[in-house]
Amino acid sequence: MSTPSIESILARHPFFQEIAPAELGAIIEHARLISFEPGRLIFHQGEPAAQLFLITEGKVSLEVFAPQRGPILLMTLGPEDVLGWSWLFPPYRWHLDARALEPTQAIAIDGARLRERCEANHELGYQLMRHSVGVIEQRLQAALLQLVDLYGK
């Protein structure tokens, strides 16, 4: 079975819908396929947040490390999920740890280049911000429901 190209994955991904083909082509130049063994940290709290990841395979946990308790799993992400928002906002540092729980593949896109392109082309910037806000809103809702204790009596 042939692996789909970065181009075909991005073209089909909800996050890049309504992006002009020429812009998508430019974004692809700053994207690469990357894989992680189970247990590998993908990024680490406090480090510079340089990339946006689109998970294509596997499972990733978002974690916070608590001294004396160890890593606490906050949420898991899987295929088609977007991982990492800190490249979008100053000070461009990761707030959490992300770790591959299974053999994981992702497309990593250079966050600084993406920001530059959004500044240069506000239509692209608007579309990407719109999709980002949509995903962030879903994550926020899910995180709020986790606080509600849905399964308590």
Binding site: P71, L73, M75, A142, L150, Y151
Partner: protein, 287 residues
């Protein structure tokens, strides 16, 4: 084997108010506060037929009576199985029962999950916390007649990995190739390798055809509410969504009015309702 269909509340019961003595055959601790009892009739009489979704009134001698769903396999009616969370007076007394102890049973009461209506369709079972117990008989039924259904999906959410019910059985379902099983928890530490997040997050990617599917939801009302929202976002019609409701009960046969909910008595008209039927008053304060 014949298909099991929804039964009338008083099926097989000469007198639904008359408790019958049962003996505890087996006690299994499921989680910190939840346990499963397997019961056998003390009089030695045979099977205990029931439909998936029905409940019994369990009477603990000298303490009181509570409604508890039957969580066993409707295709194996020789075993009467109940999974209970100890929350108060009666359920805590029930937790003290040991093999050989006696209790009394009235039932089975109520209607059933739409396992017959779901034939030829995708089946999505969404359970939250203890809600897996009342919906497990529906899954048993669907798996016993697997060829009659399309995709079968179980989405199950609990607070932590320690709260997962029927762990070994879930592993068994997961290892079958004809059921999609997704378990998710709200909070976890390593070495948990499963999903973390609320159960509603799995719905957008669950493999079902919204035009030909039936969803069965069981859990606390707040979880049902958000699950219905996600299923509707996927395009599932309210008439294809079924939920199980709970209210305090006394008679269980529609006489006393204790379990009234809107225009319905849960013991007699439920506990399973189509969302279409109850949408106008579901989640309304004071009901």
């Amino acid at each position: 084997m014949t298909a099991i269909v929804a039964s009338s509340p008083t099926r097989n019961l000469p007198d639904p108010m008359l408790p019958r003595p049962f003996r505890v055959q087996r006690v299994r601790k499921e989680t910190q506060d939840t346990f499963t009892l397997e019961l056998e009739p003390a009089t030695g009489e045979g099977d205990y037929p029931f439909a998936a979704g029905q409940f019994n009134m369990l009477y603990i001698y000298g303490v009181g009576e509570v409604p508890i769903s039957i969580s066993g396999d409707p295709t194996k009616p020789h075993r009467l199985v109940h999974t209970t969370r100890a929350v108060g007076v009666v359920t805590n007394a029930m937790r003290q029962l040991k093999r050989g102890d006696m209790l009394a049973v009235r039932g089975p009461f109520g209607n059933s999950w739409p396992v017959v209506e779901a034939q030829g369709k995708d089946v999505i079972i969404v359970a939250g916390g203890l809600g897996l117990a009342p919906v497990r008989p529906a899954l048993y039924h669907v798996l016993a007649y697997r060829e009659k259904y399309n995709n079968v999906v179980l989405l199950y959410g609990t607070r932590t990995p320690l709260d997962i019910l029927y762990r070994r059985e879930i592993e068994g379902w997961r290892s079958r190739f004809d059921v999609d099983v997704h378990v998710t928890v709200d909070r976890a530490m390593h070495p948990w390798r499963g999903n973390v997040g609320v159960v509603t997050r799995i719905i957008p990617k669950a493999p079902f055809d919204h035009l030909n599917a039936v969803a069965m939801i069981c859990g606390p009302e707040v979880m049902i509410h958000f699950t219905v929202l996600e299923l509707e976002k996927r395009g599932l019609a309210p008439g294809s969504i079924f939920i199980s409701m709970e209210r305090n009960m006394k008679c269980a046969i529609g006489f006393c009015g204790h379990c009234q909910w809107g225009p319905n008595f849960i013991c007699k008209d439920g506990p399973i309702f189509s969302y279409e039927e109850i949408k106008p008053f579901f989640g309304r304060r004071g009901l």
